[in-house]
């Protein structure tokens, strides 16, 4: 796939004329350069301009510590080929396409201007749109390591999630050999990215399930108001911020000493748990305000913890009901366990019974699933008052490899080290 845009297929960015170009260079350290956003050749440290591009290269993949974008298209894939070389080539093709799309360019030779007899490389619906802070993040599920002779490379920390009380999974929304998380401020940019990657992948991978998310439910930007979930509450107030290098290192990024010899490829990566949590919206809406606030342990208006005035005031957990959500999920109740949440609200129409098929598509990144999501969920699934109003209906877990370092690197190169080594030697 061509790396430079052809003259007849202008990049999305060159089509729109940048008002904000020429911003001062700034630097931010959030586990590498992932949180930096780029406008042309300049860097916008805060990512405040929602049209900007987020750097694709870095020590960690973008889309984790990156300030949370407004929209999500998440896709889980199954591998359809048993040809390792063909799969590695697809990862390289995906990387090339991801590099172009996150930069605001069309895939391959573009969406028009090519041979009239052939379908264009790019599907075209993102033409004229800004890069919209698109990030694309890849992960490998447990079942992936049964393929291509990779059995010995499955990290110990990538465990199959246990069955928790109340789980009621729809098989067609669960699992997957691979995932790609596309986040952007424009939904069309996110959907375009997944659609084009799926197209490049046909014959090698097939989409198993996918999920659209429309409203971020947590923030990784310090000081920002915590967005509300569909229950109308702020949740995840003490999330890890993209600028908190120490907490990211402690709770999110896989460190060198974390992994056994055969899974050193995960250094700089993270583990992702995805859960489709359906909310019983209608019964929740009929619940009294007092009960709603008791269930969360916060007031609905400000989002302040019980007995406090402001959202970000430190909570006094003992003032809350023993089964209040905040009390049970708080790090102080869980020996300090902290995860980075990046979930989105979803509404997939209605369920055929006149009720919204809506809820939270929960996404959490952590250094080790066994020390992150599993102990937390064990506790929540057992006693959380919220369980009366929610049900986990989809689930998946993925090992998210480290970032693509530069223009010659590709997604998964540390896992497919044999191929990466051969490429270097040739």
């Amino acid at each position: 796939m061509a790396e430079t845009p052809k003259s007849e297929s202008p990049s999305r960015r060159s089509l729109i004329g940048w008002g904000g170009a020429g911003l001062a260079l700034g630097a931010v350290a959030a586990g590498g350069a992932v949180a930096m956003t780029r406008v042309g050749e300049d860097v916008d440290p805060a990512g405040a301009d929602t049209g900007a591009a987020v750097a694709f290269h870095g020590a960690n993949q973008a889309g984790i510590a990156t300030p949370v974008q407004d929209r999500l298209h998440f896709a889980a894939f199954d591998v359809k080929t048993d040809d390792r070389a063909e799969f590695v080539q697809m990862l390289k093709d995906w990387t090339a396409a991801a590099r172009r799309m996150t930069g605001g360019h069309a895939v391959g030779d573009g969406a028009y201007g090519g041979l009239a007899e052939a379908p264009p490389d790019d599907t075209g619906e993102a033409l004229g749109l800004k890069p919209s802070r698109l990030t694309l993040t890849i992960g490998f599920g447990p079942s992936f390591f049964e393929k291509f002779g990779l059995e010995d490379s499955r990290p110990e920390a990538l465990v199959d999630l246990p069955q928790f009380p109340g789980d009621n999974f729809d098989k067609s929304r669960t699992g997957g050999d691979l995932c790609v998380q596309a986040c952007a401020d424009d939904p069309q940019v996110a959907v375009h990215a997944i659609r084009n990657l799926a197209r490049i992948g046909f014959g090698k991978v097939a989409i198993r399930w996918s999920q659209l998310g429309f409203g971020k439910t947590s923030s990784t930007t310090p000081g920002a108001q915590t967005p509300r979930n569909l229950m109308g509450f702020k949740d995840g107030t003490r999330n890890i911020a993209g600028t908190e290098t120490d907490r990211l290192k402690k709770f999110v990024w896989v460190g060198e000493g974390d992994v056994g010899e055969n899974s050193a490829w995960m250094t700089g990566g993270s583990y992702l748990v995805a859960r489709r949590i359906r909310m019983n919206i209608e019964t929740w809406d009929r619940t009294s305000l007092q009960e709603q606030e008791d269930v969360f342990g916060r007031d609905k208006g400000e989002g302040a913890p019980v007995g406090k005035a402001k959202e970000h005031d430190a909570p006094f957990l003992k003032a809350m009901k023993p089964d209040a959500h905040v009390r049970l999920a708080h790090p102080d109740s869980n020996g300090g366990v902290t995860i980075l949440r990046r979930g989105y609200s979803f509404t997939d129409g209605t369920d055929g019974l006149g009720r919204l098929d809506a809820g939270l598509f929960f996404l959490a990144y952590q250094r080790d699933v066994r020390k992150g999501f599993i102990p937390l969920q064990r506790r929540l699934s057992a006693t959380d008052a919220l369980n009366e109003y929610i049900q986990h209906v989809g689930s998946a877990v993925f090992a998210v490899p480290p970032g693509v370092r530069d223009k010659d690197d590709w997604w998964g190169s540390t896992l497919f080290s044999k191929e990466a080594k051969e490429a270097k030697e040739s």
């Binding site: 359809k80 041979l115 007899e117 052939a118 379908p119 067609s172 197209r199 046909f202 014959g203 097939a206």
Partner: protein, 378 residues
Amino acid sequence: MRAVRLPVVTAVATAAALTAVTACTAKSDAKDGDAIQVTAADSKCTTSTKSIPAGQVTLKIENTGSKATEVEILFPDDRIVSEKENIGPGTKYTLTAEVKAGSYEIACRPGMKGHGVRQKLTVTGGSVAKRDPKLDAAVAAYREYAQSEADATIPKVETFVNAIKAGDITAAKNAYAPSRVGWETTEPIAESFGDIDPKTDTRVNDLEKGQKWTGWHALEKALWVDKKVGAEQKALADELLTDLKDWQKRVGKAEITPTSMANGAKELLDEVATGKVTGEEDRYSHTDLSDFKANVDGAEKAYELLKPVAQKNDAALTAELDKQFAAIDTLLDKYRSTSTSDGFVSYDKVTADQRKELSDAVNALAEPLSKLAAAVVK
């Protein structure tokens, strides 16, 4: 059939030499001296000249054989410029046509079938559009395939029609799916005529307001759902046979180009993706898988014929197509059955997971197939 009909085969750009040619079979007043004498025997076809100037050409045909014959003037890709069918033994006929400069063939088809006996005809004067003989051969071979599929379909449709007319529902059900196979292998050609497909292959939800429901699917519903065949169904059966004979006769005149062949192959996979994988095509009989197989076979035939040219231009693409055609054939073989009339498992017995697997295989094949046209014209 598709709800939205695109005249793809005819819409594709055709070499200039193929257009602006008018053909007619009217009697001509041309002098005998300028005419080409064509003597059609049972195994021979002789012509009095091999070269003529561009303009009006007159064929003075005499059938000296023992069987009825058919004489045609053909483009290099076997599309018919002009033809006369059913010239009886011992009879004569004069055929005229307007021809531009280029290479043609005169074909006599004793018994009115098969490849026939051919003679070259060069038409001189003016510029001749450049043609690729390999691609002409591919189109000619594909046209022959389409014709043989149509020819083989008619007796199967007759079996189906006869069973309906005899009121034998079981026999009619058994004959339904086999009667569709030839049509499904070459459906883009049938659709290119525009007027046949709506009469023969329309599904109930595709009917336009005021359109009468005719064709296979109306009969399918009568057999499987209503379980009755009356006067109305018998009339529909006759109509189906008439319409399909019309199709059989017109295959030779279809405009087929290398590009339309390649895109036709892709469209056959589109048919699978939108109609068969979902179980919409044969919603009453659930014989979708034999239609599925026929669509794939037809696409594979077009691909095989274009492959020598495509391989030279894009060897990686043809390698991928070989692999994906083999994969889908292997997958479909898993659904073979000896206990059904069409040789495949009834589609209502195919689970959601299996349908997903079939759909993935269609995507895996159709995506590279969409690049075949470009590899052919490169």
